[in-house]
């Protein structure tokens, strides 16, 4: 068994994302000046270093969480949101030890986050204060979720 490493698999629809569009509509109704919302599923795995490459390959072929025909997959070697992103997760989430029900050698645990980016009319990230407001008033229920920036 080798040292554990973290992997973040950021999976984003490349076809129209109806959920993101609904969120955008709600944000507009709330009076928040946002031009686009981008939603991603983020799977954060803790895996033995020796098996990290194999896990990368498994994620890319298990089509229940990633389908190359409709998703973009970004593999990150750290589990931190990028500037402009907020990750939403439940306080009491229990890590799973399988990926979509499949056992993957070396996997120690995997958790899910929902990532949001909000963009202005130029396609740039909205100011942090606006993202915070959208997060606290809609994207995240602080009674059972937390927002990671």
């Amino acid at each position: 068994m080798s040292e554990p490493v973290e992997r973040a698999y950021v999976i984003t629809l490349t076809i129209p994302d109806n959920e993101a569009f609904t969120a955008l509509t709600t944000l507009a109704r709330m009076g928040l000046d946002v031009d686009a919302a981008v939603r991603s599923d983020v799977w954060i795995a803790t895996v033995d270093a020796d098996h990290a490459a194999a896990l990368d390959g498994a994620i890319g072929t298990i089509e229940t969480i990633y389908n190359p025909n409709k998703h973009r997959l970004e593999i990150r070697t750290d589990a931190q949101p990028r500037p402009g992103e907020v990750w939403v997760t439940a306080y009491d989430e229990t890590p799973a030890i399988t990926v979509a029900g499949r056992t993957v050698e070396g996997l120690r645990g995997i958790v899910h986050r929902t990532a949001w980016r909000l963009l202005d009319e130029r396609g740039a990230d909205v100011p942090a204060s606006l993202l915070d407001r959208a997060t606290e008033s809609f994207l995240c229920n602080l009674a059972f979720q937390r927002a990671i920036r």
Partner: protein, 266 residues
């Protein structure tokens, strides 16, 4: 004067018909009102019932998008004016996300959540819930007996009440935890969804808004009772008895009685 009740339909609601029928069986001719008619169409009603199903596919979070819908402005205004508002299952999730229950924080800033069930799976089981507060604490159901036990079907993926411990203490202390899961005799039972403090339903401070996760309307006639139920077994071969309101019907009868009494006094 007859009470006017709106059953508010969001895109994805799927329990409006049985909810309307349960109200009708209790003597209330409710009208189904689509969200797209907007707040203006709702303001003339005396009470609102938000039925179960899914609102906007439960995108972002169950109830979150609907809670911010324009049509909810009228529901919120009505609740603040003392009108009765009942939410069942997804309707309960909407009321919680709208901040109408438990009502301990600002509007549309929920202080609790109906979070994904323990175990993460959709739940479809028969349950009983017990009125856990004095009937007078919930004027919306004033006709219920103390400790009344209501049979219902739990059918949800996100029904586990979750909140910080301090909030849960407050909910119990101030009588917001209106219903808890129990067995058929009203004895405590672990919540099948892992709900905190076994809470199945919440009310607001005034007791005119109630959010209940299980569906009493899905057990409101004898034929709907689960197999093995004594009343259902006794009704076999007797269509009239099988089609008679029973079980969860008492929930709607209490709601109708309280509502009609309120409207008469206006």
């Amino acid at each position: 004067m007859t009470a006017r009740v709106a059953v508010v339909l969001f895109p994805g609601t799927n329990s409006e018909d049985e909810t309307q029928r349960a109200l009708a069986a209790a003597g209330i001719a409710a009208e189904i009102v689509h969200w797209s008619r907007g707040s203006a169409a709702l303001r003339a009603f005396d009470a609102f019932v938000l039925p179960g199903g899914f609102a906007y596919e439960d995108r972002v979070r169950a109830g979150a998008v609907a809670a911010h819908d324009e049509v909810m402005d009228a529901v919120i205004e009505g609740a603040q004016a003392g009108k009765f508002v009942l939410g069942i299952c997804n309707g309960a999730q909407v009321l919680l996300e709208a901040g109408l229950v438990p009502g301990t924080g600002p509007l549309r800033r929920p202080t609790a959540a109906f979070a994904p069930n323990a175990g993460g799976k959709f739940l479809s089981v028969h349950v009983h819930v017990r009125l856990a507060v004095a009937p007078e604490r919930v004027p919306l159901l004033a006709g219920l007996a103390a400790g009344a036990v209501i049979p219902a079907w739990a059918s949800h993926g996100e029904g586990r009440l979750a909140a910080p411990a301090t909030e849960l203490d407050l909910l119990e202390r101030d009588g917001h935890a209106a219903f808890v899961y129990c067995n058929a005799r009203g004895e405590p039972l672990p919540a099948p969804n892992g709900s905190a403090r076994e809470i199945a339903g919440l009310t607001n401070r005034a007791g005119n808004v109630l959010a209940l996760m299980p569906h009493p309307e899905r057990d409101g006639w004898t034929f709907m009772h689960r197999d093995g139920d004594a009343e259902k077994a006794a009704a076999r071969g007797n269509a009239q008895a099988m089609l008679a309101p029973s079980g969860g019907a008492i929930f709607f009868q209490a709601f109708a009685a309280a509502l009609n009494a309120t409207v008469r006094t206006r």
